[in-house]
């Protein structure tokens, strides 16, 4: 944390301007916040994105439809699958490609596994930040077990490059269903441990309760989605509102909390993970046999008819949208992502940091599940 002693900007010697990040413990990545503080109290916070700008949206205009497929996942390394999913959904919508039934189920399973890894990653960050190192290590270890599953299914641990227009890239390998079930059982078996050491821990309660609180009204106004919104008591989930893949094929519930603070947000992701595990079991049971891929046209001659599409899905952090325009060419004319970290990291964060304590900056930020590369795309 560097101290800016330039008092001209701050106006009073009692006020300081502090740079929080981009290299700072508790920072979510290549991202920074400029804080105006008085004592321990934050008067004003300004989020500074741009440290990770790679120009994905522009790059996509220069790559063919198939060449964009291995790239979109890189916009968010924490949960690449939802990126692949919306790209596939947008292309399928524009090019009117049908997806086989089984592929829908596989996509859902893949996306839910991905949601669990993403939440475990978030739990790692949050627990680590609060000093719960053991819990953080557990979360990382359990995430790794699911990465092993990804590796077996897709050939990659982090970037799966798996959900592509027309379906998925390969079917389940033999015995894969059982492996998913066994892995999830072994992770699920540790939920009491997690609860005892973290979720029901007094220290976590004291540290997170009432921190970074926002009302449902505020959440809606500021564009919050995902667990930030659900933690304020609103049952809103794209998987329910506008079902895609196979989410309307099985019964599941949307976990919510009422208080809208960091404590509620973390509890929502805990409940979501458990709900996801149950959903995966149901999806695996209901999964039909059959093909998993409808061949896309020859990639060297593939042109998508003129048109535009907006598609959205529920990523592990909220509503992920993709607006894509095709000019009838072999490349997209314009691509724009609506990422949940954008309002979370730029708008909500700035607002709820006001009057917070410096010690809670990381706490609030991580509880919002901001992923910096999602903001800078």
């Amino acid at each position: 944390m560097s101290v800016n002693t330039n008092s001209k900007k701050t106006g009073s010697a009692r006020e300081l301007e502090l740079y929080f990040g981009p290299q700072h413990l508790g920072m979510v990545g290549n991202f920074s916040i400029t804080l105006k503080v008085e004592g321990d109290r934050i008067l004003e916070a300004q989020a500074n994105p741009g440290y990770l700008h790679r120009g994905f949206e522009k790059l996509m205009e220069y790559r063919t439809w198939i060449q964009n497929f291995p790239m979109v996942c890189r916009i968010n390394m924490v949960e690449p699958d939802s990126m692949e999913m919306i790209y596939a959904m947008a292309v399928e919508k524009l090019a009117k490609i049908e997806v086989p039934e089984r592929a829908h189920y596989i996509r859902s399973v893949q996306l839910e596994l991905s949601r669990i890894t993403s939440h475990l990653f978030g739990l790692w960050a949050y627990a680590n930040m609060l000093g719960f190192d053991t819990v953080a290590q557990w979360a990382m270890y359990h995430r790794d077990l699911i990465l092993d599953l990804f590796e077996e299914l897709t050939g990659g641990r982090v970037y799966h490059i798996y959900i592509w227009p027309g379906g998925v890239r390969r079917d389940f390998p033999p015995g894969f269903k059982d492996k998913i079930v066994n892995t999830l059982h072994s992770i699920g078996g540790c939920v009491p441990d997690y609860d005892a050491t973290f979720f029901n821990n007094r220290l976590f309660y004291e540290r997170a309760k009432g921190i970074g609180q926002l009302t449902q009204q505020q959440a809606k106004e500021w564009g919050a989605t995902g667990q930030t919104l659900r933690a304020t008591g609103m049952k809103f989930d794209i998987r329910k509102v506008e079902p895609y893949a196979a989410y309307d094929k099985v019964k599941w519930d949307v976990p919510v909390r009422k208080d809208g603070d960091a404590y509620s947000r973390v509890w929502v992701i805990r409940d979501e993970m458990i709900e996801s595990v149950h959903m995966i079991f149901k999806l695996l049971d209901a999964m039909p046999e059959g093909p998993v891929y409808n061949r896309i046209p020859n990639p060297f001659k593939w042109k998508i008819p003129k048109g535009q599409a907006y598609v959205r899905c529920e990523s592990s952090r909220g509503e992920l949208g993709l607006y894509m325009v095709s000019n009838g060419e072999d490349k997209p004319y314009r691509v724009h992502f609506r990422t949940p970290s954008y309002p979370n990291g730029l708008i909500i964060l700035e607002k709820i940091l006001k009057n917070a304590s410096i010690a809670d900056v990381g706490n609030i930020m991580i509880s919002l599940y901001t992923v910096a590369p999602e903001i800078d795309r």
Partner: protein, 621 residues
């Protein structure tokens, strides 16, 4: 969550619960002493089977990061006819993102990803390399005993360590061809109706969309047609553009679109694991879908040069050279003894394969450009070759092989010969056939003859039992006819007797009774030359009342005066010798087609004609 649970304080002993964990096994791996085996589909370093790789470059084209470059390998041989280029992909691991699109597009499945993922080196140049596999690089691929993870690098890799591989079901190309609608065998054998119906616009577009544009076909085509360009134009719904591309190298698309030997399809990279793009049928689609070539092509001959060229023979070669030279502004006169253009195309391919009006479409277009045709004119009889030689600035011999060979076995004079049989059926009165026809030969002409005979039988003896059979020296696996022809003939009910040689035509009371055959020992000698040997004692008699010989053709040079003919040199394989301009050893006389090349087909004749046209033009300038 309830207030209760969070407020619950553990007992004084609860910290000691942690002791439990002392007795649990560690979760982490002690890498590298405990290796972690990558998954079977792991996307690691590339492997490439250099023997299977065709050098098509599709991997380089699809790579989103331009990490793959196709590099010519001088030690490797290019084999255009087999669709093999001597280029191999070179990977740059500074750019590769291991997405595996290159694997999914690879038509021969030679490119794969392995489960290796370690490379540590001081030299950044080692990060670009030619992927190989254990088959072609024995030195760097080691058995698991010799392999150590501590030494792992691009030059220290594990054998049989394949990861993400190609799967036809998930490939990025379509291995299946759009089926060509055909008249079913039962129906088509009763008349001379054209067997192939042809693609409609939708089907043609769909078939054209399969082409990967790797251009292996263009190298394989003797005339080097711009195949991927004209197929792309079909896909883009621009048939005029497509026809223009075809006419750059081939002025007889309506003919070639039906009877071409399609070297392109043999070389097509899709044919390795699937079906080749139907290049021939697509050419036919373009030719058929355009009613009037002239308005579509908008070609105009160059300014008249004042030079005159005589072309002997209005076959594919003759038509082509006439077209190419006319465009260059030379006056071309084509002589042919037949009443129409097309040469062998006019008399050879049966009506169910190549209807006459399709030939005339191509011939008429050449005529419309200003080519003068003198049909029903036999050189040496109606006009002397010497006179032509005097009158014209250059002469092109595209005379083809017009004399059917005979087996010269006992009573062979009672048998029919293939060419007169085919010619009569196509452009004159159909021959009266027997009820049990035997065709001697196993090539494409023999298939034409047999299938024509069968149709004539059905027409001349409706409802009666008729049989057509073929006898050939070659066995099933070495039959010279194309697979399509054999399959079609079989479907129509032609009987095959491969591996038998004719010995004698059996004649009783002045009537043909059958063909006495002897078993073939071998067809070719050790050098691969045609020299059949027989088991004289193993004999068989095929019953039949009509025999047609279709064992090959020879050229007829009788129109060339003796003193000139003596100047004409031949190659050791009895072909007319020509130089790189297509000129024979007689000055001003050029030649091409079946009398020059060994392929004996239309598209090679076009290629020869193109070369000679350049040669003649060069001579004039």
């Amino acid at each position: 969550m309830s207030k209760k649970t969070t407020d619950k304080k553990g007992g004084i002993l609860s910290p000691f619960k942690a002791v439990n964990y002392l007795f649990k096994k560690p979760r982490t791996l002690r890498y590298p002493f405990e290796p972690k085996e990558p998954a079977l589909r792991y996307r690691g370093f590339h492997l490439n089977d250099w023997e299977k790789c065709t050098g098509c470059g599709n991997c380089a084209d699809i790579c989103p990061n331009e990490a793959i470059e196709m590099v010519e390998i001088p030690e490797l041989k290019s084999k255009p006819a087999e669709g093999m280029k001597n280029e191999r992909p070179k990977l740059d691991y500074g750019r590769c993102c291991f997405c595996g699109l290159c694997v999914d597009i690879c038509p021969p499945a030679s490119l794969r990803l392995s489960r290796d993922y370690f490379h540590i080196h001081f030299d950044t140049n080692t990060f670009t390399f030619f992927p190989k596999d254990e088959k072609t690089d024995k030195e760097h691929f080691l058995d698991s005993e010799q392999y150590s993870i501590l030494k792992a690098s691009m030059s220290h890799r594990k054998k049989d360590y394949e990861g993400f591989t190609s799967d036809l079901e998930y490939s990025l190309f379509e291995p299946q061809r759009v089926p060509m609608p055909e008249v079913p065998p039962e129906e088509r054998k009763l008349s001379f109706i054209e067997q192939v119906i042809g693609y409609n616009k939708e089907e043609a577009k769909r078939e054209a969309s399969r082409c990967l544009e790797c251009k292996l076909c263009e190298n394989a085509c003797p005339a080097h047609l711009k195949i991927s360009d004209y197929i792309k134009a079909i896909y883009e719904d621009k048939p005029d553009e497509s026809l223009r591309k075809i006419f750059e190298d081939n002025p007889i698309p309506s003919i070639c679109g039906r009877v071409c030997m399609k070297y392109c399809e043999t070389a097509c990279s899709l044919s390795i694991r699937g079906e080749a793009v139907a290049v021939r049928w697509l050419k036919r689609f373009v030719a058929d879908s355009i009613k009037d070539y002239k308005t579509a092509l908008e070609l105009k001959p160059a300014e008249a040069s004042g030079k005159k060229v005589a072309v002997v023979g209005a076959g594919p070669g003759g038509l082509s050279i006439a077209y190419f030279l006319t465009l260059k502004g030379h006056k071309v006169v084509v002589f042919d003894s037949l009443p129409g253009g097309g040469g062998m195309m006019r008399i050879g391919p049966p009506l169910y394969r190549l209807p006459l009006e399709m030939i005339d479409k191509d011939v008429n277009y050449a005529a419309s450009l200003g080519v003068e045709f003198r049909f029903n004119t036999t050189i040496g009889k109606d006009i002397l070759f010497e006179d032509i030689l005097k009158e014209y600035d250059a002469v092109y011999l595209g005379i083809g092989t017009t004399v059917s060979r005979s087996t010269k076995i006992k009573n062979a004079d009672r048998a029919h010969l293939a060419l007169p049989f085919l010619q009569a059926n196509k452009i004159a009165e159909p021959v009266k056939v027997g009820k049990e026809v035997i065709v001697i030969g196993g090539g494409n002409v023999a298939m034409d003859v047999a299938r024509e005979a069968l149709r004539l039988q059905h027409i001349q003896y409706p409802g009666q039992k008729v049989v057509t059979k073929t006898v050939s020296l070659e066995n099933w696996d070495e039959l010279p006819a194309t697979e399509d022809e054999i399959e079609d003939a079989k479907a129509e009910g032609i009987q095959f007797n491969p591996g038998w040689g004719p010995k004698e035509v059996k004649v009783e009371d002045g009537k043909i009774k059958g063909l006495l055959c002897k078993k073939v020992k071998s067809v070719f000698d050790e050098q691969g030359r045609f020299s059949p040997t027989f088991y004289e004692e193993k004999q068989m008699c095929l019953d039949g009342d009509m025999i047609i010989e279709a064992i090959g053709q020879a050229p007829d040079f009788s129109f060339i005066p003796k003193e000139l003919f003596e100047k004409l040199e031949f190659t050791p394989r009895r072909k007319v010798k020509v130089d790189e301009n297509g000129m024979t050893t007689i000055s001003k006389v050029f030649a091409g087609g079946d009398i020059v090349n060994l392929n004996l087909d239309a598209v090679t004749a076009i290629a020869d004609a193109k070369m000679a046209a350049e040669g003649i033009h060069k001579m004039f300038c």
